[in-house]
């Protein structure tokens, strides 16, 4: 997977609908409909308006809640993954610094040894 694709995934991440979206959908649903044809009028007459409205409201809210839940789940998954990465990164950093410290200690010991040596010719490892 290349960097452009990663960048596109980031740039095209799902965006939340603006505030008040659900209310506007419901308002639009409740707005007077254009004059229906005769069969449609009969169907509408048979269907109580309160149910129509409630159905749309329930549907919209359920859908929006569902999508928000998905977004929250995704955020949670990202957060957990980021957490594991931080722990991993810090652990690797600490391990390598510990390794470095041991190396430095060994070199320092060798340097001390070469200074104390009467011959004074022991060559320590390169240590800047």
């Amino acid at each position: 997977m290349d960097r452009l694709e990663d960048a596109l995934r980031d740039a095209l991440r799902r965006k939340e609908a603006p505030e008040g979206f659900a209310e506007r959908v419901l308002a639009r649903h409740a707005a007077p409909a254009p004059r229906p044809g005769p069969w449609q009028a009969l169907r509408l007459w048979l269907q109580p308006p309160s149910l129509r409205w409630a159905g749309a409201a329930a549907l919209t809210l359920v859908l929006l809640a569902g999508f928000q839940y998905t977004a929250e789940r995704r955020r949670r998954a990202q957060g957990e993954a980021a957490k594991e990465q931080v722990l991993m990164a810090l652990r690797i950093t600490a391990d390598k610094l510990e390794y470095t410290r041991e190396k430095v200690q060994r070199v320092a010991d060798l340097s001390a040894l070469s200074v104390r040596s009467a011959a004074g010719q022991a060559k320590p490892a390169n240590f800047i």
């Binding site: 990663d6 990465q85 722990l87 690797i92 470095t100 070199v107």
Partner: protein, 175 residues
């Protein structure tokens, strides 16, 4: 069979004003490695991670404290099947950014046959505001770049506390 440990990559190489970048030639070492670790955490992701690090767990609390002020953590680790899979020429483009960059200075540089350990620090006054550790071993190469102020004395605790980290073996790259 190559076993690649690939952690999630969040976006590109980080887009903040970090000093050190991993060139393409360096990144390509992953294709030769039997295992690799690739971490890119910018400030945003560190903040997100911080929300999920538990204060009740000693190790996570320490990690949270350490990473709270950081602007980024970037890690590349390559473990090779055999010696000679990479050379100093592969590491040089990263090193040259540190030896040339303003504010950065070498703190440790130890070379032994087949191994080299380097630590570079960026200082502002008395404060360390960046650190890069490069450990070149015969079959493993690690570069860690930490962007931001870091308390080195606290890092040691993470080794001692032996933090348990979950690692998922990544799926093969989708073509």
């Amino acid at each position: 069979m190559k076993n690649t440990i690939v952690l999630l990559l969040f976006g590109l190489l980080p887009l903040g004003a970090q000093d050190i970048k991993f060139p393409e030639s360096f990144e390509k070492l992953a294709s030769k490695a039997k295992e690799s670790v690739n971490v890119n955490l910018d400030g945003t992701m560190l903040q997100l991670a911080g929300n999920f690090l538990s204060s009740r767990n000693a190790g996570e609390a320490k990690a949270k404290q350490l990473s709270a002020e950081l602007k980024g953590i970037y890690v590349r680790t390559f473990e090779f099947e055999k010696e000679g899979e990479y050379t100093d020429a592969d590491v040089a483009p990263v090193r040259s950014q540190l030896t040339g960059a303003r504010g950065w200075s070498s703190m440790v540089n130890i070379s032994e046959p087949g191994e080299r350990v380097e630590v570079y620090a960026k200082k502002e006054g008395d404060r360390v505001v960046g650190m890069t550790v490069m450990v070149s071993e015969k079959r493993e190469l690690t570069v860690v770049y930490v962007d931001g102020p870091i308390d080195l004395s606290q890092l040691g605790d993470l080794v001692r506390k032996n933090i348990n980290v979950k690692v998922d073996v990544g799926k093969p790259d989708k073509k």
